[in-house]
């Protein structure tokens, strides 16, 4: 639910990074945080376990420029990817304007990607969204590792909707801002 405050002239969009455990969702946010000028960002909040796995969510607000006198802000969230945190994932999707699905390109993570995508579809439905229409961008992460699926296979298995997709190496920042820009465009174009 995009949130327009006409009193303060602010527009906030909520973007949720989704995907299986350890696929690199938190790493995406961390890179965005590290690369952003301090005046353009708020605190990054990570509710995580002692081993740095996301427990509830990561959150960071990002200020973009203005449009027609309205300040545009993004509220970026990640969900916990581990299977047993499903109740939390459902909660975080509430009010989302757009979703980035981060997939782990390693061959032995394909099943986890498929499960997570199916879980996203279910949880969107439970939140009153339609997977086929919500602004969505795919990211094929960990392209630096050996034993990864080809992009063609990733597309075929995970991108039936044929939305925009990006290859990424999130730990090095490759593809991270491209992904963020693309989902931002998708959510704003949806407001037309």
């Amino acid at each position: 639910m995009s949130f327009i405050n006409y009193a303060t002239k602010e527009i906030n969009f909520k973007i949720v990074y989704y995907g299986p455990g350890l696929c690199g969702k938190t790493t995406n946010l961390q890179y965005i945080y590290d690369q952003t000028d301090p005046t353009q960002k708020g605190k990054m909040i990570s509710l995580s376990t002692e081993t740095e796995r996301t427990l509830f969510f990561d959150f960071m607000p990002l200020k973009l420029g203005e449009i027609k006198g309205f300040k545009v802000r993004l509220h970026l969230y990640t969900v916990p990817g581990q299977i047993f945190y499903d109740a939390s994932r459902k909660l975080i999707l509430k009010g989302a304007d757009g979703v980035v699905f981060v997939a782990d390109s390693q061959k032995d993570r394909m099943d986890a990607n498929l499960d997570s995508l199916e879980n996203l579809i279910d949880n969107l439905r439970e939140n009153g969204f339609d997977y086929n229409t919500i602004p969505l961008v795919m990211q094929w992460n960990k392209r630096d590792l050996p034993d990864i699926e080809s992009v063609e296979v990733m597309e075929e298995m995970l991108n039936k909707r044929k939305v925009e997709s990006f290859e990424a190496v999130a730990i090095k920042g490759i593809g991270v801002f491209e992904t963020l820009k693309s989902i931002s465009k998708a959510v704003m174009m949806k407001m037309k």
Binding site: F3, K14, G65, K68
Partner: protein, 160 residues
């Protein structure tokens, strides 16, 4: 996807702002906040510089969502009030009409009893304001009607 914008009217926000400032005074509290369930700050009293309002809103909404989840698991409709007791400062959190979250931050210069009493009063006042206002989606179309890829690119050049 529902493009439901209940707050598309600056007048409503100003009225809500006004009410939560009154609540802060009447409860003799340190600060009051009104937060949307998805984690957006709707209105906050006074010195917002003193608090990281954006983070606060995200965390309170997460807290309420988790508590809601617990209630459902236990077969309760909702836990309508949350109280967090600190050494010096305390938080009392309550839902307004199931839509918004009202938060009061207070210390020992007031009492939980007074805070609760005043919150009850203002929950009703805020709910009435919300019910009077019907959402209208026509305005936001104006802001984005002729947005281009280039406009969005520009926002990022400034932003990073």
């Amino acid at each position: 996807m529902q493009d439901f914008l209940w707050s598309n009217d600056g007048e409503i926000i100003k009225r809500l702002q006004n009410k939560i400032e009154q609540l802060k005074l009447e409860a003799n509290s340190k600060a009051t906040f009104l937060i949307d369930k998805s984690g957006q700050m709707v209105a906050s009293s006074g010195d917002s510089n003193e608090f990281d309002a954006t983070s606060l809103a995200a965390l309170v909404a997460g807290n309420v969502a988790a508590t809601d989840g617990i209630a459902k698991l236990l077969g309760e409709k909702e836990f309508s009030v949350l109280f967090h007791e600190g050494e010096n400062e305390h938080l009392n959190i309550t839902l307004v009409d199931g839509k918004l979250i009202l938060v009061v931050l207070f210390d020992d210069s007031t009492s939980l009893g007074l805070v609760r009493l005043k919150m009850k009063k203002y929950v009703k006042i805020i709910a009435d304001i919300l019910n009077e206002s019907s959402p209208n989606n026509s305005i936001h179309q104006d802001i984005f009607s002729d947005i281009t890829d280039e406009d969005i690119e520009k926002m990022f050049r400034k932003g990073s």
